[in-house]
Amino acid sequence: MKDKDRTHFGYREVDRDAKAGMVADVFHSVASRYDLMNDLMSAGIHRLWKRFTIELSGVRRGQAVLDIAGGTGDLAARFADIVGAEGRVVLADINESMLQVGRDKLLDHGRLGNLEFVQADAQSLPFPDDSFDCVTIAFGLRNVTDKDAALRSMLRVLKPGGRLLVLEFSKPESELLGKAYDAYSFRILPLMGRLVANDSDSYQYLAESIRMHPDQETLQEMMEEAGFTRCEYHNMTGGVVAVHKGVKA
């Protein structure tokens, strides 16, 4: 089989066509306890990462926002408050279970009117060109099979001057932090997954997929190659997470 037909699923090499289904299985499995696990795994710091991403997005009242891989809707809920009734927020996720959990959560919190829910693949977004002022993807890009295609698709749906924000795990800046982070990811995370979500394999995949994800500089280059301008990134928590920003010219 040709190399271009193969891709990574964590540390394993799998058929490109099979990855989406395997990732889907992971998220079907963790969807119901996704928020709880996020809080446990990051000690609640994921809320700060998301908050900084929202500030960096510069979204204002009346704008249109697309939150890809929006999962349980943390970003979409905040964006819905910011854009107000005259704005529009689309929460998109390829995974039906995640989308359902997110939709139920937001509706239960009384958020409706300016929110739409769409099951969509980031690689081929089902929206017209120049539709959104801002596109965000938080902790989702590493699960996408063809990241370049996804970045190009995001560029297409952005309006000129629109911003893309990619919040994703990245490479720690210090070696010492990297070692501590490795120990945490490969020993404690799967254990937590087993105890809380009764699923250690999914959290083993999480740790592996983070290591296989492009580092800060590589992702910035990928964004530039996709056609984004004024690309920059901000490391958070010592580079454990980075938020990349790019603008459509």
């Binding site: 710091i45 700060l48 990462w49 908050r51 900084f52 500030e55 901000h234 490391n235 958070m236 010592g238």
Partner: protein, 213 residues
């Protein structure tokens, strides 16, 4: 951007402060309502020592503190932390803003108005106390707190006034403000008179020089 500080750390601090302020505003609905007209304003506070940028967006829901904001700001203020503290505590914030070390860009009126609203924050503890302790005990406790707070405020104001009077009038450790301002005016007038006298002497000296054979 906030120097070399980790954005997550700055965001954590701002989130904690914002949470505290908004909790306080929840207990002061009148103050919160006064913030509503500022919904379209963003105030940039650039602290140069320590390096910290804070963007403050008030609104009917409370206050929002941000580490980054790339839109237009209503007022931008730059200075060191002590200058900001001075402005926050000043009796006359307008004078502090004009005469102090802070660099101001934009419209100062909304900033001064916001500062005055926040300085006048008057929290009503009764609602949370009643829900925690029950109607009777909560009401009694809230009344006690109100009385203690009122007495404390009055006592502080009275003590400050008496201390001020003692220092300026009785012990004469420092002159009163008005006396000092009067003295400065006299010094300024004397300076002008001396300058006039000097130029008159100079004129006379030149005339005398011309009259000499």
């Amino acid at each position: 951007m906030n120097g070399n500080l980790d954005p997550a750390l700055v965001t954590a601090v701002l989130a904690a402060v914002e949470n505290g302020l908004n909790r306080a505003l929840e207990l002061a609905p009148e103050t919160r309502a006064q913030l509503e007209p500022f919904a379209d304003d963003v105030f940039a506070l650039h602290c140069t020592a320590p390096t910290l940028d804070v963007y403050l967006r008030p609104g009917g829901q409370g206050l929002q503190l941000m580490a980054v904001y790339d839109g237009p700001v209503t007022t931008s203020v730059r200075g060191v932390a002590s200058d900001f503290a001075e402005l926050a505590m000043a009796k006359d914030p307008a004078a502090t803003l004009i005469n102090g070390q802070l660099e101001l860009d934009g419209d100062s009126a909304p900033l001064l108005e916001l500062r005055s609203i926040l300085a006048g924050l008057d929290m009503d503890w009764e609602a949370p106390l009643v829900s925690a302790m029950g109607d009777v005990a909560g009401h009694q406790f809230a009344q006690m707190l109100r009385a203690t707070y009122g007495w404390g405020r009055q006592a502080t104001a009275s003590l400050t006034r008496q201390l001020d009077e003692f220092i300026h009038e009785e012990a004469r450790i420092t002159p009163p403000r008005l006396e000092l301002e009067d003295f400065y005016r006299d010094v300024q007038a004397l300076g002008l008179q001396v300058e006039r006298l000097a130029s008159r002497v100079e004129r006379l000296r030149k005339r005398l020089h011309k009259l000499r054979p």
